[in-house]
């Protein structure tokens, strides 16, 4: 039987602790949209997305009202466009990105992911065309998100792709220079990318997925932060237990909303992504959770251990609350999207090196980091290579979403607006990596035994 305390505690989480469903993301297969003519392919893509997702926003809003829980984002993920476009006789997939953008706007969603290529072992001609199209595609569209997977635990790291992505990121920043390089905020370079991630910018609909599927991403750093405020000074066993209990509740809500939405849309329910996804709003920060554990400022010694505990406890708590868990599941540490991270970076405590260490134990990687505009493509590639190596060796997803903000230097600030937030420009190490990146080739896949 429900009691008044439980009801009020749920309402308090929603009203004051930013509890929300971060995203319901519809995955749509576009494998049947191929055509030799790129414009016909674009028309098929547009038609299929609009047909499948026309009710997504409407159903999302109905559920928001009925349950009184905000669903912040409604989004779409599609089959990697490098596969869909590979039959097109063209040297640019920009028309396909424009079709995705139009479809997304027509459906009322704020982002559409899947302008993607998976090149961990090598690139097909379709992959090459897609990667070359990324800067222009991101400059000409608003809602489209791109991602490229350059490494995996099984395949190793494709260093040719790593080198190329450094140049593509620079080009994307320069072509969107009027908006501080905003294009780069919609471009992720992955290792071990997952096929069912509902979060942007890295969402795409993997080839192992069904025709159409609904995935849910929950959130709630504010709720976890508040719960930890109640157990000051207690041992880590209690901290872990408290995070688990909180994650369980949040995930149960995500599961319920996901099942309800998939029923109404007539689309199978995929997974709940158990993530603590921060926003720039005060009280919705992952960094503040780490600080609540006893760190003076996020980024100081102890931060990696605190994050490891948090990431693991979120998963343990959430796993029992949902019948299918997937996506990236864990704690995100995007700098520009987290009020506490921004503050920690601004005071110089949180550095790129510390963030890199934190990505060994967080759910993804170096996320939404602004670096000086004169950072070389080789340095960006080298950052990607480091991150991919962490993912490859530790069998986890890692990613780099980095913004070399044109014309900006350390101490400046990059404003992306909305959920993307704003980021202080962080210093990179000023010693070159050109010769390292110029080598190209592949880093072989690591051993899965003899683990030390």
């Amino acid at each position: 039987m429900l009691n008044v305390k439980d009801i009020l505690s749920t309402q308090d989480m929603i009203d004051k602790r930013h509890l929300d469903i971060r995203t319901i993301t519809m995955g749509i297969s576009l494998l049947d949209c191929t055509d030799t003519d790129v414009n016909k392919c674009a028309d098929k893509i547009y038609d299929k997305i609009v047909r499948r997702a026309e009710n997504l926003v409407k159903v999302g809003q109905e559920i928001e009202w009925e349950f009184g829980i905000p669903i912040v984002n409604k989004r779409i993920a599609v089959t990697p466009i490098s596969l869909v476009g590979s039959s097109c006789q063209t040297d640019s997939y920009v028309p396909l990105a424009i079709a995705m953008d139009r479809a997304a706007k027509n459906c009322g969603v704020n982002f559409i992911g899947g302008f993607s290529a998976l090149v961990q072992k090598g690139a097909t001609s379709g992959d090459e065309v897609l990667i070359n199209s990324i800067p222009e595609a991101l400059a000409q569209t608003e809602c489209v998100c791109a991602s490229v997977n350059v490494g995996s635990t099984r395949a190793g790291i494709n260093m040719d792709a790593v080198a190329k992505m450094g140049r593509i990121i620079k080009e994307t920043a320069n072509i969107t220079a009027d908006k501080d390089g905003l294009g780069c905020a919609k471009l992720v370079v992955f290792a071990n990318a997952v096929e069912d991630n509902p979060f942007m910018a890295g969402a795409f609909h993997g080839v192992g997925e069904p025709e159409c599927v609904l995935n849910v991403g929950v959130s709630g750093p504010g709720v976890v932060y508040h719960a930890l405020q109640g157990i000051k000074g207690q041992p880590f066993d209690v901290v872990a237990e408290t995070v688990k209990k909180t994650a369980f509740r949040i995930t149960r809500m995500g599961q319920m909303v996901g099942v309800e939405a998939s029923k109404r849309l007539g689309v199978p329910f995929g997974i709940v992504d158990l993530s603590l996804a921060p926003t720039p709003a005060v009280g919705d920060s992952v960094a503040r959770i780490l600080e609540e554990m006893g760190l003076e400022v996020c980024g100081t010694h102890g931060t990696t251990a605190a994050l490891a505990l948090l990431n693991d406890a979120v998963k343990k708590g959430g796993v029992m609350a949902s019948n299918h868990v997937g996506g990236l599941s864990g704690a995100f540490i995007p700098v520009s999207e987290d009020e506490g991270m921004i503050a920690a970076a601004e005071c110089g405590t949180l550095t790129l090196s510390k963030l890199e260490a934190m990505t060994c134990v967080c759910s993804v990687g170096l996320d939404m980091i602004a670096v000086p505009g004169d950072t070389s493509a080789a340095t960006i590639s080298a950052i990607i290579a480091d991150e991919a190596a962490i993912g490859m060796v530790n069998s986890k997803t890692t990613a780099v979403r980095i913004i070399p903000a044109p014309g900006k230097s350390v101490g400046d600030r990059v404003e992306m607006g909305g959920l993307l937030g704003s980021a202080p420009v962080m210093p990179v190490i000023d010693k070159g990596s050109e010769l390292f990146i110029d080598r190209g080739g592949r880093i072989p896949a690591p051993l899965q035994s003899l683990k030390n």
Binding site: L2, D6, T10, E62, E66, G68
Partner: protein
Amino acid sequence: MKAIVTVVGKDQVGIIAAVCVHLASYNVNVLDISQTVMQGFLTMMMVVDVSACNVPVAELAQAVEEKGKEMNLSIRLQREDIFSAMHQV
């Protein structure tokens, strides 16, 4: 299908009457009421049955919230499932 109505605000004459009349106009049946008044501040919870409601539940929730604004109260209606999902294993 059950829903929870939560009314929070400064106590005044006729809150329960007004809320019940409003709900009745949508053919919503009140199953249970619990309320506390502390220092003139009212918190009321109602369990209601919305199965026979004559409008979609999302629309009812919006109408109830509007009514709350009219009366200078916070009134919200949420389906019971969200609370049982979060607080019962």
